[in-house]
């Protein structure tokens, strides 16, 4: 299998992941905050094709949950078929999109990843949480890339004192243990804020901390690019500094920034997960992947409910996708830069 295959595979994986998360309202069967108080910590619902008499059904179905609890017994007599691409009839659990990828006829319920302590569907929360976490990762990565590109190009292009000050500053940021820095910064900010503000704060905090590495890389590229003959020639023809940067130098940086983005997004997704896991991210009932994992801090969850780990497992293909993409991009940019 060649590099191209990995690149395509990574891209496909990411497209799938992002597509599903982006259309959480369609793919999630329930509303993320809907509490099903009869079913706290319900196991992932089993999907059946064979009924009690061994007959095969093309349309998968679930059995109705009697008590809904973790030790849920299934009532074999009542099978509830899963309907794909069905519109929601407003029911107890609600749902904020009228069309859903799948849904189960009442009174059946389908919790693909089980439920949490308040009986909320983990699968729906995972999808809606992904919106917040991935968006945080993307926004923070864009922020730090813009900052990094700006600072790096100034340092590389103007050199001298600019270079010294900015690069020593970036070394300071690189040397700081970023996780602890995030804690410190987050702790200084007010606790009592709305979820939207909390989200922006997390993005800003992560983004502002992460600019140093891209800045140093950009500086290196700018430094070598500005000495190239065609740049010197353009300068000799009287091109302005802004023109040189825009027309000749920054295009060189583009490939590098793309690779960096593929590396930074998962890193910042993880940062958001970490912050939310420790209760410093987006507040309840809004889900984020860190929030979903936060309940694992409790011993009884850790010891009793294996399905609460599922959101962590689901992160693996996402990170793998980004890694494959970053590898492939790096190969490509090498060609461009050299």
């Amino acid at each position: 299998m060649n590099r191209r295959f990995y690149f395509r595979f990574g891209l496909l994986l990411l497209a799938l992941f992002h597509g599903v998360v982006l259309c959480a309202g369609f793919f999630a069967p329930y509303d993320f905050s809907a509490q099903n108080r009869e079913a706290p910590f319900a196991r992932p619902t089993q999907v059946h094709f064979l009924d009690a008499r061994g007959h095969f059904h093309l349309r998968p179905f679930v059995y109705r949950c009697l008590d809904g609890s973790a030790s849920c017994e299934t009532e074999r007599s009542q099978a509830c078929p899963i309907r794909f691409l069905a519109s929601t009839v407003p029911d107890r659990l609600g749902g904020n999109s009228s069309w859903h990828f799948f849904r189960v006829d009442s009174p059946g319920q389908m919790f693909l990843m089980g439920t949490d302590s308040l009986g909320r569907d983990q699968f729906s929360r995972f999808l809606y949480g992904g919106r917040i976490t991935l968006l945080a990762g993307w926004l923070a990565a864009s922020l730090s890339l813009v900052l990094g590109a700006f600072i790096g190009s100034i340092a590389g292009f103007y050199g001298k004192a600019w270079d010294q000050v900015l690069m020593r500053g970036s070394e300071l940021f690189l040397a700081l243990p970023w996780l602890y820095l995030l804690f410190a910064v987050r702790a200084f900010l007010p606790l009592q804020i709305t979820p939207a503000k909390a989200f922006l704060l997390v993005v800003a905090v992560i983004g502002f901390v992460g600019w140093a590495r891209p800045a140093r890389l950009v500086r290196g590229v700018v430094l070598s690019a500005k000495e190239r003959n065609y740049v010197l020639a353009a300068r000799g023809f009287g091109a302005s500094e802004f023109y040189l940067l825009r027309r000749h130098i920054l295009p060189q940086v583009f490939g590098l920034l793309l690779t960096q983005a593929a590396l930074l997004v998962p890193q910042f997704v993880l940062a958001e997960v970490t912050l939310s896991f420790l209760g410093l991210g987006v507040g309840e009932p809004a889900p984020s992947w860190g929030n979903l994992l936060a309940s694992l801090q409790q011993y009884h969850v850790l010891a009793s409910y294996w399905w609460m780990y599922l959101p962590a497992l689901a992160l693996i293909p996402l990170f793998m996708g980004y890694q494959l993409l970053a590898d492939a991009l790096q190969e490509r940019t090498k060609v461009v830069v050299v």
């Binding site: 706290p40 308040l118 009986g119 606790l191 209760g279 009932p285 409790q298 011993y299 009884h300 009793s304």
Partner: protein, 602 residues
Amino acid sequence: MLTRLALMRRGSLAGNYLRLLGIALAAAMFLPGLGQAGHDEFLRTTAEAGVPGGRLVISLRAEPKTLNPVLAMDEFSRDVIRCLNADLIHINRGSQGVEPALAKSWKISADGRHYTLQLRRGLRFSDGHPVSADDVLFSFQVYLDEKINSSQRDLLIIGGQPIHLEKLDANSVRFDLAQPYAAAERIFDSVMIVPRHLLQSAYGEGKFSQAWGLNAAPNELAGLGPFRLKEYVPGQRMILERNPYFWKEDRKGTRLPYLHELQFLFVPNQDAQVIRFQAGDTDVLDRISADNYEVLERDQKQRGLRLQDLGPGLEYNFLFFNLNNLSAKSLPSVSRKQAWFGDVRFRQAVSSAIDREGIARLVYKGRARPLWGPVTPGNRLWLNPAIPQLPRSLSRARELLKSAGFSWNSNGSLMDARGQAVEFTMIASSSNAERLKMAAIIQDDLKGLGISVQVVPLEYRALVDRVFKTFDYDACILRIASGDADPNSDMNVWVSNGSTHLWNLGQSHPSTPWEARIDALMAQQATTLKYQVRKRIYDEVQKIVAENLPIIFLASGNILVGAKEAIGNFQPAILDPYTIWNIDELYIRPSVQARKANGWTP
């Protein structure tokens, strides 16, 4: 601080009956022991006779702050101090009745204002120094000293005046109260007798508050409790050893305590405590959450553990709104919302919308009772069964809101009469998973009324600061753990100038007629000696509270405890300290397995 005095026993408050009870109890528990003990008047217990030896390990969530019983405020210091010290008359946590401790008997005057206590003969502190009435006088002098500022001082002020003590002879002391006190001799519980010979110089020099800190050497400390200090390793453990001079013996005449050593391990949080207990590192565990109880219960047999659900305790969780007078503070956003919070119909609507059964099921796994009033079902003696237990009803809540001038806009959001959307924040302690879960449930319940609630988890000290000092909050979820079944223990919650009158603190005079009525009733019950009359009065207090809902009661969790099966005489109670209240009677059954597990040495 919440008072933690006085428990009640059925019918024990009638003046004459009380006096008789005291003497009879003293006679029943003490006299049979006289024969064996010679001049020393040991208290003979009735529990199963155990086997001396062994070590018991208990985990504490935090280190004690001090070993000075007069200054101790936090529960962890008190847990240790209870093992090192003793009081004159003690409340038996199991029976909830009073029993003689250092005082072998007492008499109460007909007017209920004078108590004459007779000390046991032959009492010695854990350093061997004999005890006399002077030690009692000294102890009360310190407790009552305004400069020392003991948290228990308030309890010893009756009718606005401190209790007056008079030494009658070397072994008897008379206590004079300014007025009769309903909880009677229960007032003596947890007022520890401290050694004058060790503390007087520090007290004289004005250094009492530095005495008996954690850096005190074991030989600087002495008490009358079953154990004495052996070793303290900061951050790790505190080891107590058996007090050879302890004043109790079992029914076979063996001197208590049975245990040779008691070890407190400092374990940072409840999950860690549960893991250590499950692994067999600790022997006893209390205050287990319902979630962890379920985990422990699963393999208790294999691990040799015995878990017990003692049923509802005395603590209650509740939601309350900020009704403080904010005229002196600039908190316009809170003041604006007080127009809603102050309307009893709004509070009733909120109460009506809350799914208490859901809270009991989801937060406590069913190991809790929904609450509608201030007295929990665990407190059978004082519970008013007439308080209506209304099930959740959104339609009733909507009716109430409508009658209070609220309406709903096209999105279903609740709007007040001025057309502003009803939304508020609710603070809860970030370290308490149970209350955060309650907050999430209430948030969802109120969404059904069109009220938007934002839950703000705050670090506990920050939360206390907002509730008690800055008043910068809309609503708060909190828990009160009454140390006691007696109504007096919650006095400072209900009277309008009480230090824990959470919803409206620092009132110079009651701000509402019903608060004035509660003030009068609480004062009346505090000096009424007849149980039936007191009960009637307190029933009315409960009714007024349930009608006006300054506090919206949610649920009361069961008391869940556990111990190794090898521990004998384990009789947990619903009163704090739940498991080690009879530490002097606990013993380790000398089976081979238990010997191995506990390093038992005869």
